[in-house]
């Protein structure tokens, strides 16, 4: 009997371990950006990097995330997921590779990337009223931010 309990206990532990790590909401005014060390306060911008082991890095602007990824401090194979804050919804995270970015001087992001993330191309275009902005994917934006 004891053995069964022990077995269940171990199962429980593994169960905990298998818990899927994902993006965590920002604690505005408390969290700081891993790259620039600024307090994160603007709910319209921000990004997170989640490692394979479940460690979370928070950034106030995609420019800081880009800098961190390029620095190689976390190896590419150790990155589980990159997410970015939905410009239109607080604490809603979009996968960086499916998100569409609108880069426009209208967006006053904390570190000057001027990039806002949207769930769809259409949503992004709605805010590109005067056609000042540039619609990009993460791959294009990341190359541009260097």
């Amino acid at each position: 009997m004891k053995r069964v309990y022990f077995f269940l206990f171990i199962c429980g532990l593994t169960g905990l371990g298998a818990c899927h790590p994902g993006p965590a909401p920002f604690a505005y005014g408390k969290d700081i950006c891993y790259t620039c060390k600024m307090g994160i306060i603007d709910p319209k911008f921000g990004a997170e990097l989640i490692t394979q082991k479940g460690k979370l890095y928070k950034f106030d602007d995609v420019i800081c995330l880009n800098q961190y990824v390029k620095s190689g401090a976390t190896e590419e194979k150790d990155i589980r997921q990159l997410v970015v804050v939905n410009f239109e919804k607080e604490n809603d995270f979009l996968d960086i590779h499916t998100a569409r970015f609108l880069v426009s001087p209208d967006f006053k992001s904390p570190m000057g990337s001027h990039a806002a993330a949207f769930s769809t191309k259409e949503n992004a275009e709605k805010l590109n009223t005067e056609n000042k902005g540039q619609l990009l994917t993460w791959k294009e934006l990341s190359a541009k931010l260097d």
């Binding site: 005014g29 408390k30 620039c36 060390k37 600024m38 306060i41 209208d106």
Partner: protein, 410 residues
């Protein structure tokens, strides 16, 4: 003939200084918008006490706008109250309240765009998103204003005094509280910030980004969410300021990031989690400062070089200096450290053995913050003593070779 000349003279002087338009409830001119429309260059508008709800007011003429007995301009939470664009304009003695909020634009109670020589004096700004927002302007003066935000709506508050792409600005004698950043500078050069009190702001009391050749002196930054941040700037002089009571996991008296060729002189750092946190900073002279009752007086990351710390007083700090590497390219000299246990045989006021301000425990805490739980335990004291005798973890060449025996009078 004489009388005629006198009259001529008088009227000429009057014409030069402009006419006065009086605005108030029950007077011929009741609205400020109307008065601005009627006014000619160099006129003075005297706004009498009363409540004015006029939506967005635009001022582009060279006028002097004076509020008498605290008239109130109310933005009804919808409008940007006063937009100023022009030169030689003064706005004085007016209460601005309830300016609007917009997710896309930085709405402000007073916004200055493309201005030169504009003065904002003795105004009161309550419950604004951004209080004073200045961009692309030169020779702006912001003085004696009282600015108070709504701390309840956390991230939806803007900055108190916000400057962007401006130069030769003077910010003095203002009291700012309850905003995101009390004073915010981005791309602002050759400007002076003095005698301000910035407190209880959500993030920083003062936030500097990409702003070179600026001076801030005699300011008090107290009890702000994260203290003061000075980032990505060159040639900044920080003198005689008080950094007080900035407590929190990521709060600093000053956070210096990528700062070069600057001076930090005669400031006092009192009761902060970290007095000065430095990252990627070079060639900074830090002298005659008081570091009292801080968690860490100074945290120097290994990415800093050529900084000199001399003639400072370190008293009652839990840790004097913290660092994250063993390579040290900064210099400490002639400081007073209350934890110094050395002696002075030749009585020249300078200790005969060097002082190592980095304790082993602070190195451990840097790598594993949770170990702070063991602070002041017997084992930790024992380890610290052992480390002093035989250094292994602490950076060997981080020391003050000439520690002062007596506290410096600063």
């Amino acid at each position: 003939m004489k009388t005629f000349l006198t009259i001529l003279c008088c009227s000429w002087t009057l014409a030069a200084s402009g006419n006065s338009i009086i605005v108030g409830p029950g007077l011929p001119v009741r609205s400020l918008k109307k008065a601005i429309e009627l006014a000619k260059e160099k006129d003075t508008i005297r706004l009498q006490a009363g409540l004015y709800k006029e939506g967005a007011i635009i001022l582009t003429k060279s006028l002097t706008l004076i509020g008498e007995n605290n008239p109130v301009l109310d933005g009804e939470k919808k409008y940007e109250i006063l937009l100023v664009s022009g030169k030689n304009i003064t706005v004085q003695g007016i209460v601005f309240r309830n300016s609007g909020y917009s997710a896309m634009n930085d709405y402000a109670a007073i916004k200055l765009v493309d201005c030169s020589h504009v003065t904002l004096d003795r105004n009161t700004i309550l419950d604004a998103y951004f209080a004073i927002h200045i961009s692309n302007s030169v020779y702006s003066i912001v003085r004696n204003n009282r600015i108070s935000g709504v701390p309840a709506s956390e991230q939806l508050t803007g900055n108190g005094i916000h400057l962007w792409k401006s130069d030769h600005a003077t910010i003095e004698n203002n009291h700012i509280q309850g905003h995101r950043d009390g004073i915010y500078f981005e791309f602002v050069t050759a400007s002076v910030i003095s005698n301000n009190l910035s407190e209880k702001n959500i993030r920083y009391g003062l936030h500097f980004m990409f702003s070179n050749d600026d001076i801030y002196r005699n300011n008090i930054f107290r009890n702000n969410g994260a203290g003061v941040a000075v980032m990505y700037s060159k040639k900044v002089r920080m003198e005689k300021n008080h950094f007080e009571e900035n407590w929190g996991a990521s709060a600093y008296g000053i956070l210096l990031k990528d700062i070069t060729d600057s001076y930090i002189v005669q400031n006092s750092f009192l009761k902060n989690t970290v007095g000065i946190h430095m990252e990627g900073s070079s060639r900074i002279e830090i002298r005659q400062n008081q570091f009292r009752s801080n968690g860490w007086a100074i945290k120097v990351q290994a990415s800093c070089d050529d900084n000199v710390f001399h003639h400072n007083n370190f008293t009652g700090n839990s840790f004097d200096v913290g660092t994250n590497g063993t390579l040290v390219l900064n210099k400490f000299e002639n400081n007073y450290w209350d934890k110094y246990e050395g002696y002075d045989m030749n009585k020249d006021g300078i200790g005969d053995i060097p002082y190592h301000p980095v304790s082993m425990y602070s190195m451990i805490v840097e790598q594993n913050p949770t170990t702070l739980m063991l602070f002041r335990s017997f084992m930790v004291s024992l380890l610290d003593k052992a480390e002093k005798a035989i250094p292994s973890l602490t950076p060997e060449n981080l020391f003050d070779n000439k520690p002062m025996m007596k506290k410096l009078s600063l």
